[in-house]
Structures are given as C-alpha cells and as structure tokens.
C-alpha cells in the first residue's frame, strides 16, 4: 500500500490539434499540501479537470486510495470526496451560508419539510471547525469575497471531501485574508485528514505553504512530487519556463 491518496499515472489528453497532457504524472500524499505549477497552457487546468471528472483522459490511469477510478461527471468526483474550491462561484448567492453548506442534504422534520433550525445548527458545526465567525443565517451575497471562499471550503468539508483542489485561491484576497486562509489550510491538513492541491502563480505562497511541488511544462512533467525543501525560487522558475532559445 502506498501512502498516496491520489495518483495519476501517465496521463495523456488530446484535444483536436493539441496534446494538452503528455504522459503526465501526479501523486498526492495523504495530509499534504501539494503545489501544481506551470505557465498558462502547460496543462494544469486540464489535469484538474481530469481529477474532477470534467474531462476523461485518453491514456493513463487515475487511482484514488489505491483503487482505479474514472469519473464521468464532477458530481461523481464530488461524491468520491474530491472538491474544487473556486473563488465564490459555487455558492447560491441569495441563500444563507447554512443552506449553502447543507444544500445537498437538507435536514427535514417529521413532515418532510426543511428544518432550518437544524440547518443552522449543523452548518455551524462546520463553520466552528474552520473557526469561522460567520452566522449561518447570513445571506451569501452579504459576505466579502474572502469569506465566500472560506464558506466554499466549509462546504467542501461538509461534503466529507478528503481532497480539496484550490484553484488560484488567493487571487482576490488581501494579504491578511491570505494569511488567515493559509493558517486554516495548515490546520485542516493537520486536524481534518484533508489533502490539498494548491494551484497558484505566486511562488512565495508555494514556499510558504506547500510540502511538495509538481511542475507541468507543455503537458509534461518538468518535475514530479519534488520536496519543496529541495527547491528554491530560481530552480522553480527554471522548471516552469519553456526554454525559448535552445
């Protein structure tokens, strides 16, 4: 048994006229924060979409907890415990925070009607785990973007997700919000048995928070599951940038 929660082996994905991924590998260790880096068009988003069931690969295999899987829809991937945290796009903005968190499984009373007291209570549990000071009855559109994103993460946790994919999570956050987010992510990994894939352009963030790094370049691995301690900023940049003048 390996201690990888998610393994992608020799993934190739062809689009008409383009090879978006060419024998790419990606391995996510349990309880780690893994940076996925690469320039635009390097294949990052294709890889994420394969993990989350938006696309299917042409070649290669995907293992979740050492079992081969193939997801035919984002919903299937979500049920298997893989959640993508977008910026705030997946929340129903006119619903309360609590209802958003519980939406896939709204608690009912004896008459089969939604019990909003239990919605508030149950969702509060997840907000508390994240140490988020948000009233579950707050309407989402009244929150700041940073808080919306934290609610997204709370929602992923409430779905019992074991793998969180964070796609450029800090792009619309203030430095203070970013700091809070990182503290939270570290705590989640330590306490909640969660593994995180972290996609970002900001290298300083990668060094601050990630354990391992995978870099994609032209759909291939420029490096795979490298310990962050073996790298420095210069080396990373070199790995990412396509050498034009060779």
């Amino acid at each position: 048994m390996s201690d990888y929660i998610l393994e992608l082996n020799n993934i190739t994905k062809n689009f008409p006229g383009v090879k978006a991924l060419d024998n790419a590998n990606f391995r996510l260790k349990k309880k780690s924060i893994h940076a996925l880096l690469g320039e635009n068009g390097a294949g990052k988003s294709t890889l994420i979409k394969i993990i989350t069931g938006v696309y299917n690969q042409n070649e290669g295999k995907l293992f979740l907890n050492n079992q081969e899987k193939s997801f035919s829809s984002p919903n299937e991937a979500m049920n298997a415990g893989i959640s993508v945290v977008h910026q705030e796009r997946n929340l129903i903005r006119r619903f309360s925070v609590g209802e958003n968190l519980m939406l896939t499984n709204l608690p009912k009373n004896n008459l089969g009607l939604i019990d909003y007291n239990t919605v508030a209570k149950e969702s509060k549990k997840w907000l508390d785990i994240m140490e988020l000071d948000i009233d579950p009855n707050t309407i989402v559109s009244d929150l700041t973007v940073a808080k919306m994103q934290l609610c997204e993460i709370a929602k992923a946790l409430s779905l019992e997700s074991k793998i969180l994919l964070l796609d450029e999570p800090t792009s619309s956050l203030s430095p203070q919000d970013t700091k809070n987010l990182f503290a939270l992510l570290k705590r989640l990994v330590a306490e909640q048995d969660v593994s995180i894939v972290f996609v970002s352009h900001k290298l300083e963030e990668v060094f601050e928070i990630c354990d391992e790094v995978t870099v994609l370049r032209d759909g291939k691995n420029a490096c795979e599951s490298e310990q962050i301690t073996n790298l420095n900023r210069q080396k990373l940049v070199k790995l990412m940038i396509v050498e034009m003048n060779k």
């Binding site: 984002p74 919903n75 997946n90 619903f95 939406l103 896939t104 009607l113 939604i114 973007v145």
Partner: protein
Amino acid sequence: MSVLLKKDWFGLGLVLIFGSILISLFKPAFISPFNLYVLMLSVSLMLVVAMSQMIIIAIGQMNLSVGAIGGLVAISFTGLMEVYSMSILPAVLIGLLIGLACGFINGYITVKTGISAFIITLATLYIFKGMNLGITEAQPFYEIPEAVKFFGNAKIFGPIPYLVIIPIIITVLMWILMNRTSLGRYMLAYGNNVQSSELIGISSTKIVIYAHVISGLLAAIGGMLVVCRLQLGTPNIGDSWLLPSFAAPVIGGAILAGGKVDVIATAFGVILVSIISQALVIFKIDPFFVQIFLGFMILLAVFINRYREYREERRTKVFSDE
C-alpha cells in the same frame, strides 16, 4: 423590524393597507360588501395565474403559454361536461391532466433542446390556442352544471366567495414548496446559478420539467376557476392573462433572471394590481387605461428590482477590490 424591512412583502403590505385606507376615505363605496366581493373574485383568479408564472420565473425562464393552457383546459372542461355529459369530477381530473401534459411538453422541449423557454412557449402558445379554436370553432360552451356555477358565484358568508378557497390553498402550498421543500429550494438554486446547482448534483432536467408541470397544472386550475366564475367556457379565456401574470410576481420583487421569487409578495402584488384596477373604475377612469397603468407598473417594478440587483453587484465588486 430591520428583518421585516428586508422582506419584499412587508413594504408592499404597507402600500396595500395605506392605499386601501386612502381610497376608501375618498370613495367609501370601495369597502362596500359588493365591491369587496368583486375584489376577492378578481384576486382569487389572478392569484392562481400569477403563481403559475412565478414558478417559471423562479427557474429563470418565462412561460408565455400560461393563458393558452388555461384556455385550452377551460374549454376542454366545459366541452366534456356539455358534449359528453361527463360529471364534474372526471372533467376536472381530465382538465388537470391536460394542464400537466401541456406543462410537461413545455418543460421537456425546453430542457432537451436548450432553447429558451420564451421561444418554446411562444410556439406552444399558438399550438394550444389553435387546438382550443379548432375544438370550439370559436363558439362558447354554455351547458354548465349548477354546482359549478354555484361554486363560482356563491358566498361562504358576508362578501367572501367560495372561489377564494382553492387559490388560498394553492398559495399556502406554493409557499411551502418554495420555502420548505428541497424541490422548491433547488428550483431557486437553479434559477440563481445553473452551473453551480448542477455541480451540487441538482438535475436540470428534473427541475425544469417539474417547474413547467406545476405551472401547467396551476394554469389549468386557473382556467377552470374562470369557467366557474363566468358560468360558461369561452375560447378566449386566458387571452388577457399574460401581462398580469408577470406583473404580480415582478411587483412582488421577483427577478426575471431567476432565483428570487416571494410567494407572499406575489400575492400582495396580485391584490395591489386588483385594487388599482378597481380604484380606476371607482374613480371613473376609462377601463382601457387600466392596461396602460399595468404596463407602467411592471416597468417601474422592473426598474426597482434592477436597481437593487445593481447595488448588490457593486457592493461585491467593492469588496473584491480591497
């Protein structure tokens, strides 16, 4: 108090109360039993029609065929009783089935083709209306059982007509549906954001078809209630429903892009439109102006709702720039 102020129905309720007091001060005839009776009849009929449109607005679509379904069901209901001497109950059931089928057709075609419901229901409007005219050859059915006539015109007590019973039950059920059931909440979630609701695992096919089926059923009930009221089934029942069907939900704060409707506020919107129509009559203003007025009210309500949305969007943008 601040919670109340945020609710769409609260402000409308105040307008209704003060408006009614004002009108009755100028024209005491406004609160005469007969006038209240007429008002309740008009509110009852329009309430069902407004709910039929409201549920489609909730999912961010439009149903232009509401009136055509109501008309087709109205003449089928009366035709079955007159031509085939069918008793009331089976005729009602067949009427409901026709409404359900029409709604299913609207929903199924919309969700399977991905074409806007506006276009689909524009087409089915003509199909349903054409069937109506083909069956009736534009002639009304007059042979209505006494029980039906009684139901449409008798009073329970005071000025309260029997006709209010079904619309009130429907309004309560609609409130429960939209506020306390997964189906209703998923419809609103779908109206808010199709993509993210699909990602949560909400089936678009199911939501769209259910919404249109309920809309068809309500339009059918509306058509049959009008038959009770008029004591005959004319082919032009439903022809005038389109404008008020949008007016009431929109005045009640519904956003046409979907995801936001308020059942109570929609009911208040119906009452407001009815009171205004009646006030115009009481103040002896040409009834033809009522439509102009209604048109302007829709415009005003849409502007107000749009302005609110705009403010909401701007606030979020400000936050994201920090």
